[in-house]
């Protein structure tokens, strides 16, 4: 076969469902808000660089982006081949089998999201509530947020907020996200302008002044921050360069995964998009979301280094995080050194600072719904497959709120939040949050690798069949690279104490999570069999000939 000359065009008749297309920009916004540089990136990725002083953040960001690019290609290929709601669950079900799909999908898209609830809440606390209360000198409120009750109440508030956003429905939430996108970008532009035109000496002065004003700190707090980091927390001189591009910089990649791994977060939703068979369109939405975020991350890093001082930025973050991992030195300011707040110190106005923090809060609001939105779709898919009871897919008559799926998210999230707030040591289990999701993505990557052989007709009947490299299906190549990337990160998480989850307690907890998923499937299998329903039949392919 060759490809020359003018292409004949299809003849279409008037028939239900023939539509023209959909906006890439909408897909971009969802992806961009999922790979959330502000809420996730500034929180536990760019702030923990001092854990790996020999590593370099810029290569780590670029390498992560390159690897996640293959994840995007893999997911876009699967969306194109099997564009129906359920995402990872549906793909793994069809390619790997229903049991393994259920176990991997519900742990990664349902159970572990319970643990993300207090993480979301903590992000709300350190990036919005504590900065705001600090600006208005409500010291008691700042302190209260760090108490057991404060942590629990904030978690419940976040869970309710995420529930409300899901209740708005996809369309309502899309509107909220669009507003948040513009507001968040405006706030980011202001911050970048401050960092671009502000001087380092000017920032030192502003930081010292506002630390005294807001927190009652005395003297040269900027210098004290550097000293505390160096002497009490052992932070060496931090460089910002492109070398080593690999080596120690690779150790930062699993930290970068905390924010950069999710441009595919909308994958469970694409089933509702007619035309998602268009591989390139789906891929472009996610790819732009990924790489625009990476571009902003690099710009922010460079500007923070210029204006805050790279050593100071890392020192302030180390002083915040090290005490949580056993360090004894008190940080020089009592709250998370949130970069937008630090930048706002340039303007000595509480109102301006509050506006900046609130406007940056749009990044949180436009992202908070992701906590439950995709999860509800997986719950629906499992209920339609009769693994979960019918009520799990129930939707309210009036407002179409998926109350069954929401209940399965909300109540366990509240219990996990209570454990997080009141049971010492439980907080460490939330460090498994990215790992469990990566395991799910790993399963999907494997499904992608074998798709052309395991589901030959499905593959050959899809648009992705024409994308090959050296005769090998593109989805197999991208899936293999993604699986290799995720597999390497899983190996590091399980073996390297740097990530604080290679311990028995963490392993035991993972066993509980996966054991719960296995138990649910096993119970469903037995119960349904008694009802004359064979769960194995759900994805059995009917012979064609």
């Amino acid at each position: 076969m060759a490809t020359v000359g003018a292409a004949p065009t299809l003849f279409l008749r008037k028939a239900t469902g023939l539509v023209k297309g959909w906006s890439r920009f909408d897909a971009f916004i969802y992806s961009f808000m999922s790979v959330n540089l502000i809420t996730l990136g500034l929180y536990y990725a760019l702030s923990v660089l001092a854990f790996v002083p020999g590593g370099q953040v810029l290569p780590a960001i670029i390498l992560s982006g390159v690897f996640v690019t293959f994840l995007v290609i893999t997911y876009a290929g699967l969306i194109s081949a099997m564009p129906r709601a359920g995402g990872d669950y549906v793909w793994q079900s069809r390619v790997l089998g229903g049991g393994i799909a259920f176990i991997l999908a519900v742990t990664g898209w349902w159970f572990i999201l319970w643990h993300w609830a207090p993480i979301y809440a903590n992000i709300l606390t350190v990036e919005v509530l504590q900065p705001l209360f600090a600006i208005f000198k409500w010291t008691g409120a700042v302190t209260w947020l760090g108490t057991h009750n404060g942590i629990f109440i904030t978690s419940v508030g976040t869970i309710v907020l995420a529930g409300v956003l899901v209740s708005l429905g996809m369309e309502g939430y899309a509107k909220v996200q669009r507003v948040c996108f513009y507001l968040g970008m405006a706030a980011l532009a202001v911050m970048l302008l401050i960092l671009l035109f502000g001087s380092k000496s000017g920032f030192q002065s502003a930081f010292n002044s506002e630390s005294a004003n807001l927190f009652g700190a005395k003297g040269d707090v900027y210098a004290q921050t550097l000293r505390t980091a160096a002497t009490a927390n052992g932070v060496p001189a931090m460089k910002l360069s492109l070398t080593p591009f690999f080596g120690a910089s690779l150790l930062l990649v699993p930290f970068m995964a905390f924010w950069i791994l999710y441009p595919n977060w909308g994958a469970t939703l694409y089933g509702e998009v007619r035309g998602s068979g268009d591989f390139r369109r789906v891929m472009n939405g996610m790819m732009w979301g990924l790489w625009v975020t990476i571009a902003f991350a690099i710009i922010i890093v460079l500007l923070m280094a210029k204006t805050f001082g790279w050593q100071f930025f890392n020192a302030a973050n180390a002083n915040y995080w090290f005490p949580l991992y056993g360090g004894t030195a008190a940080p020089t300011i009592p709250i998370f050194p949130y970069p937008p707040l630090l930048a706002s110190f340039y303007v000595h106005s509480a109102v301006f600072q509050a506006i900046i923090v609130l406007a940056f809060g749009a990044w949180f609001l436009g992202w908070a719904g992701t906590l439950f939105l995709s999860s509800t779709r997986v719950v629906f898919a499992a209920a339609f497959d009769r693994i979960l009871p019918e009520w799990a897919a129930s939707v309210s008559e009036r407002r179409h709120v998926p109350f069954g799926a929401l209940a399965l998210m909300l109540f366990p999230s509240i219990i996990v939040s209570a454990l997080y707030a009141y049971k010492s040591g439980f907080i460490t289990y939330t460090l498994d949050a990215t790992l469990v999701i990566a395991v799910t993505f790993f399963g999907t990557a494997i499904a992608a690798v074998v798709l052309p052989w395991r589901k030959k007709s499905l593959y050959e009947n899809s648009t992705i069949a024409r994308y090959k490299v050296g005769g090998v299906p593109l989805i197999t190549i991208s899936g293999a690279i993604t699986a290799g990337f995720l597999g390497w990160m899983l190996f590091k998480w399980f073996t390297d104490s740097l990530y604080a989850i290679n311990n028995k307690a963490s392993l035991r907890y993972l066993v509980v999570l996966y054991g719960l998923a296995i138990a649910v499937y096993a119970i469903a299998y037995v119960v349904r069999r008694r009802q004359g329903i064979d769960l194995k039949a759900i994805h059995q392919e009917i012979p064609v000939e």
Binding site: G5, L10, R466
Partner: protein, 313 residues
């Protein structure tokens, strides 16, 4: 206990039809039903140009050198639910300029395709299953009805109650209006009146099965992406609208059949209870060659649905 295998909206997909023909024995179903919209939506021209053939597959221009290559791509086109048509350059240009010529050709390929499918079913399903019921729906032109009626094994589902191993099934393929002004659409008021008349024949709701193409409005089985005035999908497909029929909903709520089977909205796969009625839409992934279906086991003695399952064959 009668076991039903129900699919809908296969829209000309050859692979889905072939799977449907094997589904009864595969799942142990006695009764196999296609709920409507069996014909395809597009014709893919394969244009003869200087001894070679040009066509478009997956938005890619392909030139074919041999008869085997043409047959291979015709098979792929058919599997996606489109009709491959071999045309000369002159015919192709004429069809581009003349809508009537396109309509005429559409009729020809839809009739030919339906005749071929019914012949395949008669040949393959005789003695394999108890009943084979195929219904026309809004996207199917009226000319296919006589073909469905002419089948030896295949029966055309219609508005007269059809006895079904202790149950009675009423089929209706007309829908409320769509933006595409398809063959069998009626304003809600008229649709409601016609449904009321049809349902006068229902004698025992507990033994009644609805096979109505349009899903009930606001049931969640009828959510389709919202469209703007240019037929583009709004909000990246995240804006969904209930587009089902209020008349169908009213009929279900009033009659309370034991089972109500629907299709029409491919994305809205699901199951729910409306009162004592189990309402199902198995959805459709015909373009991917996946036969989404509902397997329902009925209890003829108790007049209940014993179990159901949505499968992806």
């Amino acid at each position: 206990m009668p076991k039903i295998f129900y699919v809908t909206d296969i829209h000309g997909s050859e692979i889905c039809w072939r799977k449907f023909l094997n589904a009864g024995p595969h799942y142990g179903a006695d009764i196999v039903i296609v709920g409507g919209d069996i014909t395809g939506k597009a014709m893919v021209p394969i244009v003869e140009r200087g001894g070679r053939w040009d066509t478009t597959m997956f938005d890619q221009h392909v030139t074919l050198e041999t008869e085997d290559e043409v047959r291979e791509i015709e098979k792929k086109i058919q599997n996606r639910g489109y009709y491959p048509i071999r045309v000369s350059e002159e015919e192709y240009r004429h069809m581009q300029e003349d809508e009537d010529a396109v309509d005429k050709r559409f009729k020809e390929v839809m009739i030919e395709g339906t005749e071929r499918w019914i012949a395949m079913a008669d040949d393959k399903l005789a003695g394999k299953v108890t009943r084979v019921i195929v219904c026309p729906a809004n996207d199917d032109m009226f000319e296919i009805d006589p073909i469905l009626k002419s089948g030896h094994v295949v029966e055309m589902g219609g508005s007269d109650p059809m006895e079904l191993e202790g149950f009675e099934m009423v089929s209706y393929g007309w829908t409320n209006p769509t933006p595409w002004n398809t063959f069998r659409e009626l304003p809600e008021e008229e649709l409601g009146r016609r449904l009321d008349k049809i349902l006068e024949k229902v004698t025992d709701p507990s033994r009644t099965i609805f096979n109505i193409h349009a899903p009930p409005f606001g049931s969640g089985l009828d959510e389709a992406p919202a469209l703007d005035e240019n037929m583009n999908i709004k909000a990246g497909g995240r804006a969904l609208r209930p587009v089902g029929s209020t008349s169908v909903r009213a009929a279900i709520e009033r009659i309370q059949p034991v089972l109500s089977l629907h299709g029409h909205i491919h994305e809205s796969k699901g199951a729910l209870r409306m009162g004592s009625t189990l309402v199902l839409n198995p959805g459709s992934s015909y373009e991917e060659g996946i036969l989404q279906a509902a397997l329902i086991t009925l209890d003829a003695k108790k007049h209940t649905v014993k179990s159901y399952q949505l499968v992806n064959g």
